[in-house]
């Protein structure tokens, strides 16, 4: 089966803890993304990587760090989570270099709740 796999589906943690989300795509795509969807339903790009190289790094707190071991994996680590980090985090991939015409394949999302 080829798709974008995200784990965990849900995670509940306390302020100050560290969390890691994993994302793997088996589609052979070159570009991977992390998005954050907040309580207002706005979907914002956080990072994108093309062949392990960072190409988009939006303004996010420094406690967020992407980790790419190869082009099929893009993990997201959050050091010392804050309450405002509670959101749905979505991983996606695309075939090319991230242009507007490229479709995205999304993972199932990780819902983070910070208590």
């Amino acid at each position: 089966e080829t798709a974008v796999f995200q784990t965990p589906n849900y995670h509940v943690t306390q302020v100050g803890n560290e969390v890691s989300f994993n994302c793997k795509q088996t589609l052979g795509h070159d570009t991977m993304y992390w998005y954050k969807q907040d309580s207002k339903k706005l979907l914002k790009i956080m990072f994108s990587y093309n062949n392990k190289q960072l190409i988009v790094n939006e303004t996010v707190p420094r406690r967020f760090s992407p980790q790419s071991s190869d082009k099929a994996h893009l993990n997201l680590r959050i050091k010392s989570v804050e309450p405002e980090d509670s959101a749905v985090y979505l991983c996606a991939s695309s075939f090319g270099t991230g242009g507007a015409a490229e479709t995205l394949y999304f993972g199932s999302g990780t819902r983070l709740t910070v208590l």
Binding site: L43, I45, V88, A100
Partner: protein, 110 residues
């Protein structure tokens, strides 16, 4: 199978014309969103609907939970409308996590 089936996968329009994108759902959804992706990978939120229709400029969206579909109508297409459009639906019940359609790649020609 996929919970969200988006069509068409690709669409070509001449400036000034219009068309509709559609998402069919295989289960009951409580809300739907429509996005447009730009060249940086950003997803611009176009609409969020829990029911009925919404209109914003040349775009209009409808959502019918009972009939399990949503549409996005574009009229008087402009060159800057080109991009990839996604619908994302939220299943009824449970915590919110959106399920995305496969996207529609729209190209508007002069």
């Amino acid at each position: 199978g996929d919970q969200v089936e988006q069509s068409p996968s690709a669409l070509s329009l001449h400036e000034g014309t219009g068309s509709a994108l559609r998402c069919n759902f295989t289960t009951t959804m409580r809300a739907v969103q429509w996005f447009r992706k730009n060249s940086r990978g950003s997803l611009i939120n176009l609409f969020y609907l829990a029911s009925g229709t919404k209109e914003n400029g040349r775009l209009k969206s409808a959502f019918d939970s009972k009939e399990r579909y949503s549409t996005l109508h574009i009229r008087d297409a402009q060159l800057e409308d080109s991009g990839t459009y996604f619908c994302a639906a939220e299943a009824a019940g449970g915590n919110y996590k959106p399920t995305f359609g496969k996207g529609t790649s729209l190209v508007v020609h002069p």
